[in-house]
């Protein structure tokens, strides 16, 4: 209780950086051999992990990137061979420059810590609950990851398929067919294409900016690799387009049905059922008028 046990202390101090060479070597051996210890180190790394935010950035010399770039292609070619020994420093030219003084650091840090403490403790009650800032982005993305994909395909599909079905079955065939024929049909062919077309155009290589802009909420799914996300996006957009289209078709049919039923006289002649059926080539029972004058003795009323 009042003491960290040895391995816990070793893990914490390994992360903190206070071990001497010998202890550090021991810790590294343990890291490779002992999973519990490795997990412990990871835990401490997470605990102290964000302290780096308080470090003032220092722009490194450009030649460092040149060195990395040269080596990194080598690494790629060797494809995961044991790492090459680093050559001795090429130049010790950069001797004295302007990295921060430790005393200044200490001062600033303790100052920051204390001011923060007072702020934090005053806000301690509320702090734990909602924090609607950019920090929210740093919450584990894993839980968020499955959401868009699982939501993507089922919903549009369930939207797209069921609604037409009941309408279509309940409505007489002759009523459904006409609507598909004159106007909506061309769009149904054209729209999916136009909806899909932009997607191949989106760049495959630099996804971050594009994705972040076009879908801020979905962009918080960093766990998935970009290619997979792009594919999912594309599929989702296609499904959405199809779903939208089907909804429109259903709405048009419904409107037409309602018009026939409730305001038949206001339906333009072109859309009158009889006219539509004629266009479709459905043979109208023209025999009905002659049948009209029922024989007086008939027992069936019309």
């Amino acid at each position: 209780m009042s003491e960290l046990d040895y391995t816990d202390a070793l893990a914490a101090e390994y992360v903190l950086g206070t071990l001497d060479l010998e202890e550090r070597t021991q810790a590294r051996t343990l890291l490779d051999a002992d999973q519990a210890f490795a997990a412990n180190v990871e835990l401490w790394e997470r605990r102290f992990g964000e302290l780096y935010l308080m470090v003032e950035p220092v722009e490194p010399e450009a030649k460092i990137w040149a060195r990395i770039k040269a080596k990194m292609l080598e690494v790629q070619e060797k494809s995961r061979l044991p790492e090459a020994e680093i050559p001795p420093p090429a130049s010790a030219a950069a001797t004295t420059a302007e990295p921060p003084s430790l005393d200044a650091i200490e001062a600033a840090i303790s100052q920051a810590a204390t001011t923060l403490t007072s702020e934090a403790s005053s806000a301690a009650g509320t702090e734990a609950t909602p924090t609607p800032t950019s920090e929210a982005m740093q919450t584990p993305a894993a839980e968020a990851a499955p959401a868009p994909t699982s939501e993507a395909s089922p919903t549009p599909a369930s939207e797209a398929i069921p609604p037409p079905a009941p309408e279509a079955t309940s409505a007489p065939i002759s009523e459904v067919a006409p609507t598909l024929d004159p106007t909506p049909a061309p769009t149904s062919a054209a729209e999916p294409i136009s909806a899909v077309e932009p997607t191949p155009g989106t760049p495959v290589v630099p996804p971050p900016a594009a994705a972040a802009v076009q879908a801020p909420s979905e962009a918080r799914v960093p766990a998935v690799e970009p290619a997979a996300v792009l594919v999912a996006h594309r599929q989702m957009r296609r499904w959405r387009a199809i779903a939208l289209l089907m909804t429109l078709v259903v709405a048009a049919v419904a409107v037409l049905l309602a018009a026939w039923r409730f305001a038949p006289d206001r339906v333009p002649p072109m859309l009158q059922p009889v006219e539509l059926m004629r266009q479709m080539g459905v043979a109208l029972p023209t025999a009905s008028p002659p049948r009209r004058p029922a024989p007086p003795g008939s027992q069936f009323d019309e």
Partner: protein, 180 residues
């Protein structure tokens, strides 16, 4: 400075061997990592070596980053810090002791802009702030400078044994504070 989301995207592209993404990742993060490393090593030549090693490791191991456990930048900083501390403890080439520590009184770490304060950092700073002032200083000095206990004892002018006990007690308190 890029957002964590952008850095995660870049990191994901790097796992596929995307060299362009890697260059952008370097551009977005190198100043932060260099700041951390330089503070530990206090020599530009050594810091440059560590930067090279760290980024090559990031290039190789980008696939091992787990967003459930840390932010991408924290992961990268952890790699760089480990290497820097290893370098600081190991036999240092050439100038070693004779090279003076780089000191510039004008530059210290800025306090973090409030919007950059993450919940985790706030919580940690609150816990550190509950320690006695001497121990706060000891802990932060240890983290940022990555001094060994002997060096720390020298800087804080106290016996090593006492420092060790004090350090461990502080770590324990922080652990308990963060757990609560």
């Amino acid at each position: 400075m890029s957002t964590p989301v952008e850095i995660t995207w870049l990191l994901a592209a790097v796992t596929k061997g995307d060299a362009v993404a890697f260059e952008r990742l370097y551009g977005a993060t190198c100043a932060k990592l260099y700041g951390v490393v330089l503070r530990i090593l206090r020599r530009h030549d050594l810091a440059a070596d560590v930067m090279e090693e760290a980024y090559l490791q990031i290039w190789r191991e980008a696939g091992e980053f787990d967003p459930a456990h840390s932010t991408p930048l924290a992961w990268m900083v952890a790699i760089a810090r480990r290497l820097a501390i290893d370098m600081a403890r190991g036999p240092q080439p050439a100038a070693g002791d004779s090279e003076p520590e780089i000191i510039d009184e004008d530059e210290g770490p800025g306090s973090v802009p409030r919007h950059q304060l993450t919940d985790d950092l706030k919580r940690l700073l609150t816990c550190i702030g509950r320690l006695e002032p001497d121990r706060q200083r000891m802990l932060l000095l240890a983290y940022y400078g990555a001094f060994s206990r002997e060096q720390l004892a020298g800087k804080l002018d106290m016996p090593v044994d006492l420092l060790r006990a004090s350090l461990r007690r502080s770590l324990l308190e922080i652990e308990q504070c963060l757990k609560s």
